[in-house]
Every structure is written in structure tokens, then in C-alpha cells.
Amino acid sequence: MYAQLVDTGAKRLKTLEEMSPEERAFQEKIDAEIKIEPKNWMPEGYRRTLIRQISQHAHSEIVGMLPEKNWLTRAPNFKRKLQLLAKIQDEGGHGLYLYSAMETLGADRDEEVAKLHSGEVKYSSIFNYPALSWADMGTIGWLVDGAAIVNQVVLQRTSYGPYSRAMIRICKEESFHQRQGYQILLHMMQNGTDEQKAMVQDSINRFWWPAMMMFGPHDSDSPNSAQSMAWKIKRMSNDDLRQRFIDQTVPQLEFLGCTAPDPDLKWNETRGHYDFGEIDWTEFYDVVKGNGPCNRDRLRTRRKAIEEGTWVREAASAYAAKQKQKNAAA
């Protein structure tokens, strides 16, 4: 999940009777699965929640390019280098696409990016973990994009039209990334040396729990979920999404011939699901607060790119203004 802990500003849900006529009409539309479009009336809380969620999602795509960039210049052959570059390109495209969806709500891209840079808004906690080996390029594709897809597949049915349509398009590319990532790992496990196999297992050990954290806190610790679910911005709870992810991932893990760093992971016949151990929530909140291994580096890199590009953007504007003047005079 690329959006975690999105604040809705609502302490509790209003009943239909408590709502204004406009709010009631809006809620009935949502309940009837009719998509909300940019020019439709919407409660301010709905608008703000969506801006928060979509901007966080877009920021995650952009910051998420950085751990992969760390290995792009060291990709081992033409095929992998071109694949990884194309994947990073897709992520930039997702970011652009999501920022556009966000702008339909009246938000401004530059302002939202400034909030990211000041630390006021977040991106997914997963990108605060370092990419330390080539195997991480496989694991990130398989587990990180995999977790994102589980969330995004459900978000294709989200109530806001532009966000829902963005998700449909993004899901197609993400599932390609996930297969590509899995294939990187599978190739190393099936054709690799002992060193390469150890590299894969080490990578899974490091990314397993952070990937589980991508779905956010337990439902019981998720005070904003009820309102987001009522507005159908969210369509499935954090714990349900996490369970779905684990259920689909464990058979893939076994097929790789690798293990998860979770001694409590086992199939539960009665539940029809995998049981798994407790997430280290202290670590999760530490990373969210900015204390992950890469928080500072990631933000520094993003800030530096935008700050150092100021004179370039100013030049482009000045040139455009001059051209406009010339054309007007001609």
C-alpha cells in the first residue's frame, strides 16, 4: 500500500439523518456505486482525504524510483538494465498520472511536493529501506510492487472517478513489474551460484517485514479507516489486504525455494488462510516518524533535485514568456 495513515479529519461517522441534504445525496451516490467526478459536489473532508491519499501515493511513486536507481547504474547486463530503466520510467509516469488526478481536486502539484519536502506529508515507509544488493531489484518488484498491487486492485473500485481510472491503468503496469521482479529472483535461484542464492534469501529476509508493514496498522489502530470505507475511498481494511497478500505470496515464496523470516508463518486449515507473526510496530512508527535507514537520504535527494533545478525552470519560463511576446508582436 503506497498510502498509510491517511487522516480523514473525522472523529466518527455521521448518520444519514445528521447529514445536510447535499451530504446525504453524496453518500447515497457513493452507496449506489456511482463514481464521483471532479465537478460534482463533495464534502470538504472527502476532498481533503483524497488529496492526502493521492498525493501520498504519487510521492511514493517518485521516491520509490530512488532505491532502484541505486542499482540501475550497476545492472548486470543489457536485458536487466533496460528492464529496470523501463520500470523506473513507468513509476515516474504513475507519479505524473496521480498528480494529475490530484489536481482535479483543486490541489497544486508544486505545493504538495513542497509539503513532502518539508516533511509535512509522507510517502510509503517501504522506500526508507536501503537496496543493498542486486537481488533487492527482484524483491522490490515481487514483494513491494506485489503488496502495492493487492491494494491497488481494490482501489480500481474507489469512489473517486479520476483516481479509480488512474488505478486501472497503473495496475496493468504494476503486475508486469511484479512478474519481472519475481523472474529476477527465480533466475538466480534456478541458475545461480550459491552466492547468488544467498543474496536472494538475504534480500527476502530484509524486505519481508517492511513489505507486510506497507498495509498500515491493524484495523483496531486505524482510526481513519471507518470514514474512508464509508466514502468508499478505501474498499478493504488494512488487515484484510495484508492477509490477502500473504495468502498469495507464500506459495510463490515456496516455489522460489526460499523461506520467510517468520517462525509463526503456517497454513491454518480452519481459517483457510496463513497465520503469521506479529509485526514490529515500534519499527513501523519509527520509520514513519523519519527514523528509517534512508528517510533523510531520500528526502535530501528529492529536495536537492528540485532546488538545483530552480534556475532551469526559471529559464524555461523566461524563454516561454519571450516567445509569447515575440509571437504577439509578429
Binding site: 523506473i88 505524473l96 551460484t193 538545483e308
Partner: protein, 259 residues
Amino acid sequence: MTQNQALFEYLLRLGDSDLILGQRLCELVGNAPALEEEMAIGNVALDLIGQARSWMTLAAEVASAAEIEGAGRSADDLAFTRDERAYRNLLIVEQANGNFADTMARQYLFDVWHFHLLSALSGSADERIAAIAAKGLKEVIYHLRRSSAWIKRLGDGTEESHAKMQDAIDEIWTYSGEMFIADEVDSLLADAGIGADLNQLRSLWQADVQALLAEATLNCPSMDEYMQRGSKQGLHTEQLGFLLAEMQFLPRAYPGASW
């Protein structure tokens, strides 16, 4: 020198320049001045590395068929295990990214050359070369349009951008002359109708560059200035070794491993 030996050498030069410039652009991912530029830089890098792969695949085929130096090596071997002294890329492409003006000056001067080169090679007597060149040319037309637009924006933008753009051109200029210095390989293949005539390329390049720099309100240095050279003999600037050390790390650290 046999024609196949010359051809192998020629293909390496083409592939190496594409790959090294593509690698330099990869270094910029996540550092572009705007998200739209992030996409553009990545696109250009993808095109160049894709073209490098085509040239090196052909180089490997030529080497194996003619049983010359390099026989039995794949395109990946050529790219990811060859040493600095065996690399044949132009000195201009290995120069560091610098600021955005430096990056665009390097790109533009290369793009003009690349455009005219691939235009010429599209009519090569060697059909394999003509096919790769024609495919690449479609991409390079876009590269050139983009870098030309940036030279104009930065040259004729603000005072600051003008100064930076002029510095960038002046700084990189000394590496531009090498693109037109023909050696035995060039002459042999140009005579056979396989390679491009570098003298012709020089006048086309000069006319384009002078016109665009004038439009961008920039001063165009003289082509008679002292020009650095050496890449055709594998004599590079000190920058290439570090680039290769990074790019070739995995195949060198884990010899024989398959990825």
C-alpha cells in the same frame, strides 16, 4: 586490416558511445529539474542503451563469423567485461553530467552528430547497419528536438541560464572535434559504402550547430580550436574508468554468474 576487422571496430565505436552516454543519463535518474524531464532523460537513456545493444550484438556476430578478435563474446560480454583501454566511445560522452547546462551541451553536440551519422548509415551498403541506423534515427530525431529546445531555453532564458549555457558549451567544445577525425577504419568503410563520410558530417554538423547557437544567443566557439582526441585508440579521460567500474561491478565481482 581486413574489412571485418574494420567493421568490428566500427560497430564497437557506435555501440560504446551510445552505451556510455546512456549510462551517464542513468546517473541522473531521480535528479532531474522537473518530473517531466525525469521522464525525458529516462527515455533518451533507454533509446541509447537499446541502440548500444543492437550495435554490440552485431559486433559479436561479425567477430564470431569472421573469427577475429572478440570471437565468442556476446554483446553483454563486450559491454560488461571489456576494459577501459578497449572501449571506443567518444570522449565527449564520458564527460561527467555537471549541471543541467553541461548535461544538455554534451547531449546536443552529440545528438547533432548522431542524427547526421545515422541518417548517413541508413543508406549503408551493409543492410544490417542500415536497419539498425534507420530504427535508431527515429529515436534520435526526438533526442535532437529535445536537446535543441533546451539549448534555446537556457541560452535565451535568464541571465543566469545564459551564462551557464555558454560556460557549458565552451567547456565541452574541446571534445567535439574528435567526432570528425577519420582513421583507417573510417576510410576503409566509407570507401566501401558501409560507413559514413566524416568530412561531410563535419560540415553538416557545423552548419546546424552555428545556426542553433546563434538562435540561442550563444557564442559558437571555433572549430579550429585545439581538440582533444584519443578514443579511437582507447585513450580516454580519467572519468571513464570510474564509470566502467560501477557499470561492470556485478559481472566482474561474480565471474560466470548468470543474471
